[in-house]
Amino acid sequence: MTELLEVLLPLFVGAPLLLGGVLFVVGKNHPLQPILGMGTLLALLAGAVTLLIATSEGQLLAHQVALWPNGIAIAFVVDTFAALMLTAATIVAVVSFQYMLASGEARSPSIPALVLVLMGGVSGALLTADLFNLFVFIEVMLLPSYGLLIFLSRRGDMAASRLYVVVNLLASTIFLAGVGLIYAVQGTVNLGALAGTGDDPLTAIATALALSAIAVKASVFPVHGWLSRTYASASPAVAALFSGLHTKVAVYVVYRISAVIFEGDSAWMTAILVVASLTLVVGAMAALGEKDMRSLLLFQMVSGIGFILIGISLFTQTGIASGIFYMIHHMIVMGALLLTASAIEHTYGSGRLDRVAGLRTRESLVTAAFVIGSLSLVGLPPFSGFVAKYALVLASADAGVVVIAGLLIVVSLFVLMAMMKIWAEMFNGKRHADVEILAAQERIRTRQGLYDTDIIDEDEINEEANRAIEHIEPPRGIIGEIGDPHDHRGTRVRASLILPALILGGISVALGFGGEYLLQLADQASQGLMDTSDYVRAVIGR
């Protein structure tokens, strides 16, 4: 059984790419598009879960692709950490894609195919044990991302898309240089062969250069700025998808390399600790200043990266474990919040705090999703965020860096402030009339496929708005609300649009109560990183 799994590992890359290729060929409205798309993602999820089960006791699966000798071939290796990441990433992908189906974005040409190729790249990047191959798969991730970003963006201008491409291109170039230097010094780019070479100063510098390139992709301070700019101009669903994949894969690489090559060398870990703390503070503060729901959330994402990196920088059993737990939690919750934002923007045509209002009395489901998401993000019980934060704070205190423990706690107060800003402005308050206009405008835009730079006739909008107010009945909220029933007439977020966010929210709740299971897996993964001997053996067989 295990042997079979090992041999099949390359299919985690091959299958999505093959079906992606097929979807490129079949027509835009062909029924296969959604079926194959979702089917493949679900199959991938099943596969990931299988890997997770197979590695849950700390076993490793490894395969030398094309059966060349160890160290010559590119090795695909799965340990608990990789399997965990793959599973989480695929969950986010499945749910985001479900949203795209609901919102109709998945009907645009090549979108399902691009998502599949993207996932193929993600699997490759997570499974490979070869640095150059890693570079290749990061590119395989990036190109479909460019497509997704640009095709689904409704921005009339291309500034953000250009920014996204050039920043990533720069990072890739620097990373490649780093890999080159590693080869120059060590004569190999095989992670197994490189294990522990971090104590050689030259190798350390080369690796650090590669890592600083990865830092750009992970949006670590001071190279975090591009994220909120570019993701905010993508379709919100795409932003949700990316949030679970790109930065997280980058963080995964940081974890892996720090463990395998540096073996937790204190100097480098301290460096990471400093950067991470700065990132989480800057992210949380910058979020406070944003005036748009999505950009605010995106800065929370930056802050989250800081939280996650604290875990590895502690380089203790519990530290890494809680870091990994936090990462999974963050992928899920960020997805939930961004998909909530997506549903709002898709229906009301804006995520601007000062435009949309009164959602609390209009949208019980959206409110539920947002509340779960934000409370979890802030780290309040009984959500996954609490377990994650508590574990991380405890680990920091255990590791003796009480200051960091305090910092983590103080920062979450700012996170709360930021989320409250969204709550107070978008969910409380009234102004339903203006919101109705926005929504009407958005519906027309969507119907006619216009860019934000195109203008719509005012009467047309008002007409549309009135139609909504007349025809859409107020549903009975699951939570009864105080307020004039007439506020409740008009546009509504379709249930199918908010469902994805609720699913992720549900997962967050489950991880809050049943955190134990994930904790054990994270602990298992952490062991794999603390002692990489098994990993090395799996890669180069010694």
Binding site: L143, T173, A184
Partner: protein
């Protein structure tokens, strides 16, 4: 040393162009940066042995083939991205320098399709 200097020169030029105004110079900058990195990777294999790595005949002076394979892959990928970037440079307007400078480069979309003469 010349090799190292070439890498340095290309890197410097690349960085300089990348940080200038307008997509074209950024693209050209990246082209140079890529050259620099590719040279670096070949150098990583060592510049001492310079025979082409073909089998048959004596390979004692053959260069390290692996970096060459790396660079081949890297060149192609870089080319693919450059193409995408190049396309991005001419769609959607609203780039810093897509209009004649004489007209105010304030991103005023109306003037983008100026049929005024270009190079003369």
């Amino acid at each position: 040393m010349s090799l190292a200097l070439s890498v340095g020169l290309l890197a410097a030029a690349g960085v300089y162009l990348v940080l200038q105004r307008g997509m074209i110079r950024i693209i050209l900058g990246f082209v140079l940066l890529t050259h620099s990195v590719n040279l670096l990777i070949i150098a990583a294999g060592g510049a001492a042995r310079r025979d082409a790595p073909f089998i048959g005949g004596d390979t004692s002076m053959a260069a390290d083939p692996l970096p060459q394979a790396f660079v081949l892959t890297a060149i192609v990928i870089a080319f693919a991205i450059t193409v995408v970037l190049a396309t991005l440079a001419v769609v959607g307007s609203k780039d810093d320098d897509t209009e004649e400078e004489s007209e105010k480069t304030e991103l005023d979309i109306e003037n983008t399709s100026s049929d005024a003469g270009g190079d003369k």
